[in-house]
Symmetry: C2
Amino acid sequence: MKKFINRPENVVEEMLEGFVIANAGKLRRLPTERVLVRKDAPVKGKVGIVTGGGSGHKPAFIGYIGKGLVDAVAVGDIFAAPPVQRVYEAIKAVDGGKGVLLCLGNYSGDVMNFGMAQELAQAEGIPVESVIVNDDVASSPKDRMDNRRGVAGEVILWKVVGALAEEGADLAKMKEVGTRAVFNTRSLGVAHTPCIMPSSGKPSFEIGDNEMEIGVGHHGEPGIKRMSMMSADEVTELITLQVIEDLPFQSGDEVTVLINGLGSTSLLEMYICFRKVAQILADHSIKIYRTYIGEFFTSMEMGGFSVTLTKMDDELKRLMDAPCDGVHFIQH
Amino acid sequence: MKKFINRPENVVEEMLEGFVIANAGKLRRLPTERVLVRKDAPVKGKVGIVTGGGSGHKPAFIGYIGKGLVDAVAVGDIFAAPPVQRVYEAIKAVDGGKGVLLCLGNYSGDVMNFGMAQELAQAEGIPVESVIVNDDVASSPKDRMDNRRGVAGEVILWKVVGALAEEGADLAKMKEVGTRAVFNTRSLGVAHTPCIMPSSGKPSFEIGDNEMEIGVGHHGEPGIKRMSMMSADEVTELITLQVIEDLPFQSGDEVTVLINGLGSTSLLEMYICFRKVAQILADHSIKIYRTYIGEFFTSMEMGGFSVTLTKMDDELKRLMDAPCDGVHFIQH
């Protein structure tokens, strides 16, 4: 296994140690749990935002802690949901009197543990709502959207509700706008190279030397189609058309485009693929409002990328444009 | 070759097309040459900053165009220096009346072409100076520093002179401070996986299944030692001690630390390695002033990372702290 790690069982702990030293100006760690919170949390008069999930997706989740983004992250082991107690402590640490919004991807472990933590906190009188991200169109047909996984679209949710919270919105409003942002967001990815699990040294999925898989999940979950490698334009068209058809995005719509690298795919390739996305959107008379290209939600060194589109409205535009100051996501 | 590209000979052109669409708010392309410039260039009363080099190092070089960083990039082919004419056009495009500073890595092609462009521009009456980056301690012994290659330390140079230019400094001052920043900057890297050249489909260097090489260059140039894979702590110690000894960095010094991922090495690993860097610096009573961790100067999907230290003084601190608004490097 060609990874720069020490003992596999210490990967998350040592990463967190480095992360907290490097970013001590922006965040701190709770003494009792693997929870990182914004340095100034709880922010009085602001709804607190808690997210989290398994480790191995950096810059997600902890790279999004900061002003205009999330207040706390409950950190799980590699690709494993954080335990209930951790999420519960995160909620308590960021409640500034206006309640807490939970943002999570639609994975059974996360849904269960965040749900139980929500109930515990509510029983203590803290108002808590949650928004579950299910933007991956590959993971289930449209008529069973509740079964869809969350992927890079969660970044859009954090940005939108993070900006809203800074404006002083209440919890109900945040749930409403966050839910709309998630509904308006659709993603589809492709991967040609697995990541290697630190614990086992084994790949997250098996794939042939000239193969790629459309819709592979962030943890190596099966996709919808395995194919021979294609040109950048061909694979981008295949993915982007499916994303467009899913909402569907229509002529006259304005969208935020997020091209997310899964790990080892270079920015060079992402820009080549984005060029094709832009052509396809122009052909459909869909206007690009904002563009984000880079590694926003990875699977360690997995090779591949995803295309995320979010349909904008005036409110979402304002929130996407707002400044933010996350560890790995800064916007003026 | 598992890359998302179209025809290999179009890689740079198509990447640039995507890049200009995505970042039209911040930059534009010259009509005649493969040169990208800040949208508002030339900025009157500000020294212009031109950099450039081969493609394949994204976010370097074009990701550093923006306020507080560089004004223009002359874009070469994959791992190939930009031609003289391109650098010359870049100089002319960003001269706002106070002259132009060239920032380049110490590679023979770049040094030759930037040098000739400098002479051409000077012959037309444009004051031009240059600072050549040679931070890679692996590439030559200390008594032949002029032979050393430039690696991730160039990011520090762009940040420092970019901030200085915004303050209104003159060309002589920029050369002086830029030269000092480069002298104060030392880097050393390790790689275990080559990148694949789009043109040939061949790896940039050959290496065994359990091997890593200390000091491999950004283009696969030979390093100083090939070894079996080690733990994160062991390899980080080996690299960091060599960097510390080179300047040498001493007890009481303050440093900026840059941990640069070469492509496929995950942020998770980089934070684990940074944790060890921080321990070593503490053991040496060297204080960390600022920390940057991520992919700042890659070799496409090469696997590995480098450690860069820059010795700070009051002036360099002020310049490192200044805000900047590059495409892929934003600081509040």
